[in-house]
Symmetry: C2
DNA sequence: GCGGCAAGGTGACTTTGTCACGGACGCCAG
DNA sequence: CTGGCGTCCGTGACAAAGTCACCTTGCCGC
């Protein structure tokens, strides 16, 4: 990456995250010097237990899946950080400090700004906009976690599964995913997913093939989601 | 409360939460004028859906139980904010902004500083110590929520119940609590709790009477907690 | 074609949640 | 004291979800 490219990137992200109004020129110049743009290939772990990071990541492109693994080895997806949404801070900072079993994995190729903690602190103190951004990021995460708790504690898995299928598919009507991956999404066991998908297929809502699911009846699936 | 009392309170809490070092005299004086000490009786709701608050609470005395209720009416306790611990900010701010189903209830009589949002923002921008305090409060909450998710998704209820019994009892070996209350703590149904307690009693770990549980064998209960 | 491996299927069983009761206890009015 | 009433708790039958063990099927490289 040339120096010019890098400068362009920085101009871009400081305006996106901090707001041009409240970020003094001097501070921005210092940020140019003290941050760097990193790329992570799809599938790589970005943060996780036993991996102390002292920088925070701000997504420019790609999505990061954040999940938690229990002692017994079972896993559940907590949320996704998606570039382009309002909230693009991976909570590396939060989760890395607990030596918890939370980890973040790049789901696609990821491009992000790595901001050292010291710089982060400066920005928080100097830029009200940046501060708002950080606060709303935390709020958003807590909101996501509350949703997970509600689903896991009170939701039925048929509805939760139907929901994930529609979410993961987006506008497409076919998605490549294994039963095990879906089980991990929902924090349950593969057999449970297999049985539910079998039932969905029996009803003609989906068609399964190895590692792939075709959605045949969106409305029926959507109906299951909120019938719960 | 006399003017003198009030001043003492303020001296007290600003030093506790913001650190004397980094809070300018002028700001502190303004805080004296712009905050107030409130009291809440045990059992009263402090924040909840449909109750917009524009001030934040910092606990001086008492404990606040924060729980979430699903559409179906089932409830689960998310965490407790306890005065005297490092983290005493109720997340009214966070949870109130989502019109979510999270609510905070005073478990004991509560005394707290009510800080208007505008003053909160000023303090965040002016005091690094206060900022750290707020950040670590958020971290702590997220940590608590991750624990809840782990328990609900992967934990067995016998272990979770034994854990709550020991937590709620503290050092006492008797606690006044109904099966329904315990069910709410764990986000499950009363019948489930009744059956488990029946089993605990059969094994001689506890003795039940109406609305009351006597702990007979702490070690056995503690062993169930981590056998899970 | 074939060996090996990951994906998926299945049955038996346990644990947890749901539903519909009914009985027990405390408390207060008559 | 007695009859109601509300809360608390017990229980059985069932449904939903998770666990365990083992099997089959499709796929890919050789």
């Amino acid at each position: 990456m040339t120096r010019q490219d890098r400068h362009i990137e920085v101009e871009d992200w400081t305006e996106r995250f901090a707001g041009p109004r409240s970020l003094p020129r001097a501070l921005r110049d210092e940020l140019v010097a003290r941050s760097r743009i990193i790329k992570v290939a799809a599938g790589k772990q970005i943060f996780g237990p036993g991996q102390a990071t002292d920088s925070l990541l701000f997504l420019l492109e790609g999505t990061v899946r954040v999940s938690q693994t229990s002692e017994s080895g079972r896993e559940i997806v907590l949320y996704r950080a998606v570039a382009g949404q309002s909230c693009v801070m991976t909570t590396a900072c939060v989760l890395a400090e607990d030596a918890q079993a939370a980890e973040g994995v790049a789901e696609t190729d990821v491009r992000a700004v790595a901001l050292p903690k010291s710089v982060f602190d400066e920005m928080v103190s100097l830029s009200p906009d940046f501060r708002d951004f950080v606060m709303s990021a935390y709020r958003r995460r807590i909101h996501d976690l509350l949703r997970v708790i509600d689903d896991v504690a009170f939701g039925r898995i048929d509805g939760r599964l139907a929901n994930r299928l529609l979410e993961l598919a987006g506008t497409a009507d076919s998605l490549s995913v294994t039963h095990q991956q879906l089980a991990t999404e929902l924090g349950t066991a593969r057999e449970v997913i297999s049985r539910q998908l079998h039932e969905f297929q029996r009803r003609g809502w989906i068609v399964q093939s190895r590692g792939k699911i075709d959605i045949e009846d969106r409305d029926a699936l959507a109906h299951v989601v909120d019938s719960v």
